[in-house]
Symmetry: C2
Subunit: 303 residues, 2 copies
Amino acid sequence: MNHASTHQTTDITQVLGENASRVEAMLDRLLPDGGGPEKPLLDAMRYACLNGGKRLRPYLTVATARLFGVSEEQAFRAAAAVEMLHCYSLVHDDLPAMDDDELRRGRPTCHIAFDEATAILAGDALLTLAFDILADPATHDDAAVRIELVRGLTEAAGAHGMVAGQMIDLAVEHRQVDVATVERLQALKTGALITYSAEAGAILGEADPDARESILAYGRDVGFAFQIVDDLLDEEGDEAAMGKAVGKDAAAGKATLVGVLGKDAARQKADRLAERAVESLEAFGDSAGALRDVARFVVTRRT
Amino acid sequence: MNHASTHQTTDITQVLGENASRVEAMLDRLLPDGGGPEKPLLDAMRYACLNGGKRLRPYLTVATARLFGVSEEQAFRAAAAVEMLHCYSLVHDDLPAMDDDELRRGRPTCHIAFDEATAILAGDALLTLAFDILADPATHDDAAVRIELVRGLTEAAGAHGMVAGQMIDLAVEHRQVDVATVERLQALKTGALITYSAEAGAILGEADPDARESILAYGRDVGFAFQIVDDLLDEEGDEAAMGKAVGKDAAAGKATLVGVLGKDAARQKADRLAERAVESLEAFGDSAGALRDVARFVVTRRT
């Protein structure tokens, strides 16, 4: 059992690595490049995206899209849009007025490498470009599918989704919070976009309502498990391996489930969520193996 | 002639005022409201939008939509999306790292009234909400029309549009620039969104290609004329009437057409652009009277 699970983790690491290369190539293709006086903006957009992250979110999009027979070109386009949205959120979150981070994926954050104004604008432009890619006929020939992709992302990313989560994250710093508040915060701040990452593949594949609901249930559990493990790694992880500062949540008084439940209970919850995510995929049989591997990876990863 | 033109200006002022009230009402309806720990975000979004601006951009959307027989509900929804996009850009432009403005439309700017983090997030959420409204079936029942609205806005607002213009605006501060650079800067920074404001009405109304091209030509000229007059008012205007600091462009070393051409030549250019905008509407006959009035208003306004 232990051997099998270790073997699986190795496999998914390789699969994620290959996927990350293809996501990187698609990002490189879709990001603007050029000279002129706006060059710092374009450079900062590329810097913020082309940095070798794990690319978990775009992998969820691609793996789900494959489940529904979507073409690789369309799947990777939507995946790149999801990743741009994620990268914009990191650029803005890292700003001095927000989390004030200087290191991200082992490199200076965008506002350190460029300047604050350029980082703000690069985030704005990445957010806008994510919608542009989803709305582009090359992403799907049916306008109804494209508009559903756009709408799903506006809901996941906006004032009732990710941005609300970031606001709550800042608002409850250094304050006593209960489990329900932390769960809502995480569902909004990271859960909504991770759930959408999987949902986007189902939208592209025009999945029927039952299949779509299964994917949503899977995405919600994977997203929450991911965030809990992120917080555990922030407490326990190795700074060099993580490529960013660790122990920052506690220092910044961040509300995390690890903080309110303790490490052991948080770890158990993450494992239970990953199991339930796997169970959500039952109706898909063997074809959902890639998504099951992701759910298990999310709670076994070390970085 | 002078009398007629004064009379016309009075009329359009009243028309704009009535339109502004209806835009305000639609913004109030579409902006999120609520409590919880994310309340500062929602409050800041409302603060940034509900402030009694002239609402020129949404009026262009509504007036163009009427030309093509669009329902008032759909026209004002798209108009509100355009205004939210504009308000997001003002919130981010006013940030300390950008233009560092403390006064906007006679009130403290968003980051002064709230704080920088909340202002950054409010801008992000307004940008996202603008796309959400355009993608909503209530804005048009045909997904192809909605996706065209979304795509038009991503192009006007992103790294090849408004955000690029803002980057250039910052990049060329205190530098010697030529007329071509200033014209490109203005076309991107303010021209693209003003042009889209009119175009959105034509998209909603499923205008034929010729009509659409006429509206685009009109929008480009009105947008450029608007910006030139804005720069003239910054040099000549009355701070109390403007509701913001004046003389700031010169102090900040901003590149303006007034700076490179001088006041008289800039004024003449604005007048010529307004005339040409009016000529672009020839094919519409009397039905385009409202749009003609806007073009004339843009170059005769005092605030």
